[in-house]
Symmetry: C2
Subunit: 82 residues, 2 copies
DNA sequence: TTGTGACTGTAAGTCCGTC
DNA sequence: GGACGGACTTACAGTCACA
C-alpha cells in the first residue's frame, strides 16, 4: 500500500527532531505550536499548513525546501505496491 | 515591511502558472481544488496545506521541494525594511 | 516522554454568484 | 480570465486530562 504524504512528513520531522535531541514538547514550544499537535503530525494524522512547515523547519534548523526535499525523496520513491 | 509568506507563495505559483500558460480555472481543475481558492492563494490570502502544495506542484510540473526552494529564496532574501 | 480522547475555534477549501 | 463577496463544510490547529 502507498504511504500517505502525511505519514511521510511525520516520519521526516520525527527523524530530524530525534537527531536534534529535542522532545515533542520542546519542538512545540520553540515553534509555538502544541505538543499534541506535533504528536499528531508525526503519526501522520494531519497535513500541516505551509506556515506550520516553516515554523517547524526553523526550529529543526533546516531550510524548508530541504525538509520538503526529504519528504519528496521518500514519497516519490515509493513503488505502487498493493 | 516584511512580505508575508503567503504572498510570496502566491507570487511563485502565479509565476509558474503563467509560465505554463494555464488559467486559474485550469490549475484548479487539474489540481482538484477550487478556482476561487487559487485566486485567494495567488493574492496571499491563505496558507495552503501541505497536500494542496503537492497537488498544485504536480500540475505545475515542478517537484514540491523545488517550488518551496523558490519560495525560500524570495522569503529569506528579504531585508527587514520598515 | 509520548499517545490518545474529547473538546473548541479558526482557517482551509468549496460552491454559488456578480463585476 | 481574474477579483471579489457570501455562505457553507471540513480539516487544521491548539488546549486539557489521563494512561
Amino acid at each position: 500500500m502507498k504511504r500517505d504524504l502525511r505519514s511521510v512528513f511525520g516520519e521526516v520531522i520525527r527523524e530530524l527532531r530525534d537527531a536534534r535531541g529535542l522532545s515533542q514538547q520542546e519542538l512545540a514550544d520553540y515553534s509555538e505550536t502544541d505538543r499534541t499537535y506535533i504528536s499528531d503530525l508525526e503519526r501522520g494524522l494531519n497535513y500541516p499548513s505551509l506556515n506550520t512547515v516553516y515554523k517547524i523547519a526553523q526550529v529543526l534548523e533546516i531550510m524548508p525546501h530541504k525538509l520538503i526535499e526529504k519528504v519528496d525523496k521518500l514519497y516519490f520513491s515509493q513503488t505502487s505496491v498493493s
